[in-house]
């Protein structure tokens, strides 16, 4: 009953702590509009968003890629403004921008426009992003953070609940808790700078320069890091106390640790925060306690049977219900992110999510085996059972660490639900470096992206967007690829429809580097086609 009350408190607590902005910032309009041809130069470039954003940079590039204006721009409420001091000469231009929303999520993109007559075809390269470095560094740091949080929670809970256990066991748990607290503090601090670097997309080696850190302080990551540090200190304090105070502090820390995760990230922003934050909490709390319990349980297998009985019985009492809550809440969160079953199979996010589910299922299988077979045998005092139990718990622990690593990678990716909005997130969190061009033919525009635009396996994505395509459902989209230097021509491939007006080719066709020509054929009716011819450089 007390637990229910505590959970209800956390529900409201989670809702109060959660950030005020509930969604990714979405670009709603621009002046000039994308692919608009203006009679004369505009006085300013204006990007309009659905919520308040802060400009990181806005660059105006001419057709040769030279910076004409920017990168500093003004943020006024939901608008970002780049004033132009001198009128632009006739020609095609690209506005490349990166802004940061109140939920700490960087959003980037590009807009094409022309001054003077509209070009027959828009071909403008959008500068590629700095790379995966920040994503990898952030995901690694986050994984270490999650793992340390889980270990600290488990160790301090077992220390608080198992007061009668022997001294060596307590020393071991104390060591786990202490080390984890230190790791939590370090990773929480690093996260601020890493988040700033992710936003700025500066080279990764500049992590210890001032810029990423001052940028990071502007994001919600700062709040999350401070909260995590507070939780770590709470847990550390609990290990030093005794009796009732120890139990209260450990329990409070264990409840607060998963709540800190709900302070930032895309899961929280996917819906009404009073639903998503408690849902995430309901998933993270039992998952974290479960994971955290593995190390103390493993240590307990070395104890004499009578002493080991208590940790195991406490864990067993809560394990089944906890696992059920974690799986159900996790399933609900996952469903909200993937949106469609198709999204699970057609996106990287979905693939990772499936991997996580498979790993959790494997861990669940092991846990069931432990509970039904090994634990009773060990508690009966059968000689070989504790060793076997310790080994399977060790495997479970390794799987748990992998699950947390996958989870932290998921946290850095843009889920299918955001892609379904049709928002082009060229942001550091999800886009690979690649090549993106816009093209217009017969009044219909298309965005063609090749990722990673390096020799080997590539994904070619064609997005048919804009007014010209309203109410038009193409019969098929195919491409003919050619690379003159490599003597490749007429390589014809059909494209797969992956979402409304988004078509994709995923394969090894761009096997050699060089200048490729991609000819896109959109068959609108049997007798009408729209074609685009796009040169795309493929790096070695």
């Amino acid at each position: 009953m007390r637990l229910v009350a505590a959970l209800i408190c956390m529900w409201f607590g989670g809702a109060l702590l959660a950030p005020p902005a509930h969604a990714h910032a979405v670009l709603t309009a621009t002046e000039p509009a994308d692919r608009q041809a203006l009679l004369s130069s505009p006085a300013a470039i204006v990007l309009k968003f659905n919520e308040h954003v802060k400009a990181v940079y806005v660059r105006l590039l001419d057709a040769n890629g030279a910076v004409v204006a920017g990168p500093s721009a003004d943020s006024i409420d939901n608008d970002v403004r780049l004033p132009l001091a001198t009128p632009l000469p006739n020609g095609a231009y690209v506005v490349s921008f990166r802004v940061i929303s109140d939920d700490a999520h960087p959003v980037g993109g590009a807009v094409l426009f022309a001054v003077g007559p509209a070009p027959a075809a828009w071909v403008a390269a959008v500068p590629a992003e700095a790379g995966h470095g920040w994503q990898i560094a952030t995901a690694t740091n986050r994984a270490a953070h999650y793992i340390a949080l889980g270990l600290a929670v488990g160790a301090s809970l077992f220390l608080a609940l198992g007061t009668e256990a022997d001294a060596l066991y307590r020393r071991r748990l104390g060591l786990i808790a202490g080390t984890s607290v230190v790791v939590i503090l370090i990773t929480a601090g690093l996260a601020v700078g890493l988040e700033g670097g992710l936003v700025l997309q500066s080279p990764v080696r500049e992590l210890f320069a001032a810029a990423p850190w001052s940028e990071g302080q502007e994001t919600t990551q700062l709040r999350q890091s401070l909260a995590a540090a507070a939780v770590a200190l709470l847990l550390a304090a609990s290990t030093g106390l005794s009796g009732r105070a120890k139990r209260v502090l450990a329990l409070a820390g264990a409840l607060a640790a998963p709540a800190t995760i709900a302070l930032t990230g895309h899961v929280v922003t996917s819906g009404p925060v009073w639903i998503t934050a408690p849902m995430l909490f309901a998933h993270a709390l039992p998952a974290m306690v479960w994971f955290g319990s593995l190390a103390p349980l493993m240590a307990a297998t070395a104890l004499p049977v009578q002493a080991a009985a208590r940790p195991f019985s406490v864990f067993s009492r809560w394990a089944v219900a906890g696992a059920a809550v974690a799986v159900v809440a996790g399933g609900a969160v996952a469903l909200a992110q993937a949106r469609t079953i198709e999204g699970l199979f057609s996106t990287d996010y979905g693939h990772l999510l499936l991997l996580k589910v498979a790993l959790v299922a494997a861990a669940g299988g092991l846990a069931t085996w432990n509970r039904l077979r090994l634990t009773p045998r060990a508690l009966r005092g059968e000689g070989s059972a504790p060793t076997a139990l310790s080994r399977t718990i060790g495997v479970e622990l390794l799987i748990g660490i992998t699950v947390l690593a996958v989870t932290s990678a998921l946290a850095g990716m843009v889920p299918p639900r955001s892609l379904a909005l049709g928002v082009h997130d060229h942001d550091g969190a999800d886009s690979a470096p690649g090549y993106v061009v816009g093209a217009v033919s017969a009044g219909k525009s298309a965005t063609i992206a090749l990722e990673p635009a390096r020799a080997g396996r590539n994904t070619l994505t064609i997005h048919l967007a804009g007014a010209g395509w309203a109410g038009v459902e193409p019969r098929s989209v195919s491409v003919t690829l050619g690379n003159f230097q490599a003597a490749i021509e007429g390589l014809a491939r059909p494209l797969r429809k992956v979402a409304p007006s988004v078509y994709q080719l995923d394969g090894p066709e761009f096997a050699v580097p060089g200048d490729w020509t991609v000819r896109v054929l959109v068959l609108v009716t049997e007798f009408d086609a729209v074609t685009y011819t796009i040169p795309i450089p493929v790096a070695p």
């Binding site: 021509e489 014809a492 011819t533």
Partner: protein, 176 residues
């Protein structure tokens, strides 16, 4: 020029000479006409889709075309599809919104190594310029060459190696 460039270039040249099965398109026999005049459109079909035999020819008309009448073809089923025109035809107070939208000869078999002509008599549009007759050539095995692109647009290959290329075009000259 280095060797690494020369060899692929030579291969490319060889491919260019041999890989493309035929340069011949489906074209009109008479490529010029006068606006608003009676014109006999003769569509010349020089080959199939790759090696597959042609089984159907379907034609659409440039906006402003009046009363197209196809010549029946022994062994082929003729279909004249009528409906609302993509663009109404107006001459003074006279507006035509309905008419023939597509003519098709189906159910025949024209082997790749045979030649045939399909004929439609029509009244040409009133506007001078280039008039296009988008044409779909259906073949055995579900293939279809599409002669539908505007002049100057680069040819494409369909997913099954079909040709997607220029539509038969007619130059319409003003009245002398």
């Amino acid at each position: 020029m280095s060797r690494s460039v020369l060899i692929p270039a030579a291969i490319a040249a060889a491919f260019g000479a041999t890989a493309v099965p035929s340069w011949a398109h489906v074209t009109l026999e008479t490529k010029e006409a006068v606006v608003s005049s009676t014109y006999k459109a003769v569509f010349r079909v020089p080959h199939g889709c790759g090696a597959a035999a042609t089984t159907a020819i379907r034609v659409r008309f440039p906006d402003g075309t009046l009363s197209p009448k196809p010549m029946p073809h022994a062994g082929w089923t003729l279909t004249i599809q009528e409906g609302t025109l993509a663009k109404p035809i107006t001459a003074g107070n006279d507006t035509v919104t309905k008419g023939v939208t597509e003519i098709a000869w189906t159910g025949g078999k024209l082997a790749d190594n045979e030649y045939d002509e399909f004929v439609i008599q029509l009244t040409t549009p009133a506007e001078a310029g280039t008039a296009l007759f988008p044409l779909v050539q259906e073949c055995e095995g579900g293939k279809a060459n599409r002669w539908i692109l505007a002049p100057g647009v680069a040819a494409q290959s369909g997913p099954n190696g079909e040709e997607i290329d220029a539509a038969p075009s007619l130059k319409l000259n003003p009245k002398p």
